[in-house]
Symmetry: C2
Subunit: 318 residues, 2 copies
């Protein structure tokens, strides 16, 4: 018996939890991140959460897992680049170990949040029993994490599973990465919002037209689509088709059993997933298309903390 502390480190909040081996949460702790106060202050708040949880633990703490949005070097425990934290090359694992002191001897794992998420879904969520999985988050950005043969796969330089920047429309919208027509410019939350704004400016009729066009978000498009609005459904369907083109490539390259869709836009459910499934059926080889299920993420509001803890629970099993 024991707990892993899982920490979901985001640009606005730090969410931490005591997570048992079966994925259940025994206690939670939260802080605002306050990025503007600098790295040391953020680390102090993570340590506050850890101490708060340690005080409530009825069993030993066997490790600490941290998931962060951005590029990470999981071998060295470094946040290489996290735009929401405005961090670059921050040796988070070593800084935390130094701050926690000699009494902390348990493993500390740092990885990108989508790698945490795929492990969380495999161990405790929608991917239970699968050994070949892709997790895709569709939200502010589009990112991925993958498990191959039961193990998290990072690639040669921890750049694997970068689903969001596959170029699908070389003449398409400019992406934050500098290229044009990446998946992220066609299927992310902001892309969906932009398409809704454009359609409304062009005079398409929709229940969305009662809202202030310039501030429409994907949340509102998803809500309208669920309530039956044809324009909102068209926009989600197009986003799903683009996502499906990218995932069909993934399916023929890695032949997964299971693709799990999470992130804010996944609240659209089958309005997003059905076009993904149809595109995979059309574009991928029949054997590979038939082998894969495209499903919604199974972990709820605390998926970040559970996934972060799964980084350690997964490692302890191997």
């Amino acid at each position: 018996m024991g707990y892993v502390i899982g920490v979901d480190l985001g640009g606005t909040k730090i969410a931490a939890a005591l997570v048992a081996r079966d994925g259940t949460i025994a206690a939670q702790a939260r802080r605002s991140t306050h990025v503007e106060e600098g790295v040391d202050a953020v680390i102090e708040r993570i340590v506050d959460c850890i101490h708060e949880l340690e005080a409530q633990a009825s069993h030993p703490i066997v490790g600490l897992g941290i998931g962060a949005a951005g590029m990470t070097d999981s071998k060295r425990g470094v946040i290489v680049m996290a735009s929401n934290l405005k961090w670059q090359d921050v040796p988070l694992r070593d800084l935390l170990a130094a701050r926690l002191g000699r009494s902390w001897t348990q493993p500390i794992q740092v990885d990108k949040d989508t790698n945490a998420a795929v492990l969380g879904e495999m161990l405790y969520g929608a991917g239970r029993g699968a050994k070949h999985l892709l997790y895709v988050t569709v939200g502010t950005g589009v990112g991925g994490g993958m498990v191959l043969g039961g193990r998290l796969y990072h690639g040669a330089t921890e750049g694997a599973s970068d689903i969001g920047h596959l170029v699908l429309e070389p003449e398409g919208p400019v992406c934050g990465c500098g290229k044009r027509g990446c998946v992220e410019t066609l299927a992310s939350g902001p892309a969906i919002a932009r398409q809704a704004q454009k359609a409304l400016s062009d005079g398409r009729s929709s229940t969305l037209s009662t809202l202030d066009i310039e501030t429409i978000t994907a949340v509102e498009v998803v809500r309208a689509a669920r309530e039956g609005d044809p324009l909102a459904r068209d926009i989600l369907s197009t986003a799903g088709q683009y996502l499906g083109i990218a995932l069909a490539y993934y399916v023929d390259i890695n032949n997964p059993e299971c693709i799990i869709i999470g992130g804010g836009v996944s609240a659209a459910g089958d309005l997003l997933l059905e076009p993904v499934r149809q595109m995979i059926a059309v574009r991928a080889l029949p054997n590979n298309a038939q082998a894969v299920r495209v499903i919604l993420a199974g972990l709820g509001a605390s998926s970040g903390e559970i996934g972060a803890a799964a980084l350690v629970w997964h490692q302890l099993q191997h």
Copy 2:
């Protein structure tokens, strides 16, 4: 000390060799396949080769590896579908084991030829030292085999690394698989020959125009390109760009160290590889593009037998 017998099973010939642990060949044996005589006759010829090589072996035989073009079930040792052999669901491993009798107790590995090739290149060829590799053959078809984290990766249902059927031009030429615009319809040997035939029919000037247009092959296009013919170079460059689009997707999905290009069309060398490299640089994320080298296969005429033997040597190491 010992040898593995490596067998390259093709539609026209069976090539077998005694391969030492360091990849060197001690003896070779060959037969015509004569597919039309049926499965049993082909197996008899494989067994002939095995006996011929056993008689010449100065050290014990420690295993038998067989690489075949087509879909295989490596766990069960079955050729699921091989169009050049006209075989479907042939339990090759068990048939061979039965025919070799009780005195044969060594492991027998059956896998697709591109999986054999990637192991051969990793252990003995251009990929030595790498742990994350893709081998791509560009010949009559376009196929792949991949190593991730030092291990051969098959996927959930042995459908991984199917690079040749990624759809790049949904309105493009019809492929043997039933889809349109697969990599194979844009960058394979027959695709290159077809493009040359079309350009010559359209009246483009080229040293190729001295040949009979209808029977031009990729071999001739590659030769003309190496001799400086601008049309032939354009055609290879276009093929390389399409291959590069597909490989850029691979690079962002699996973040390999090394992509090894083999097969007949790879005789074009940098005339094919340079456009591949350029497209990866433009399309993949900078960190992933910088991590990968695109190089020619390093094993020569006996790469099939060496790769087939590598299936067993690789397994004996794990």
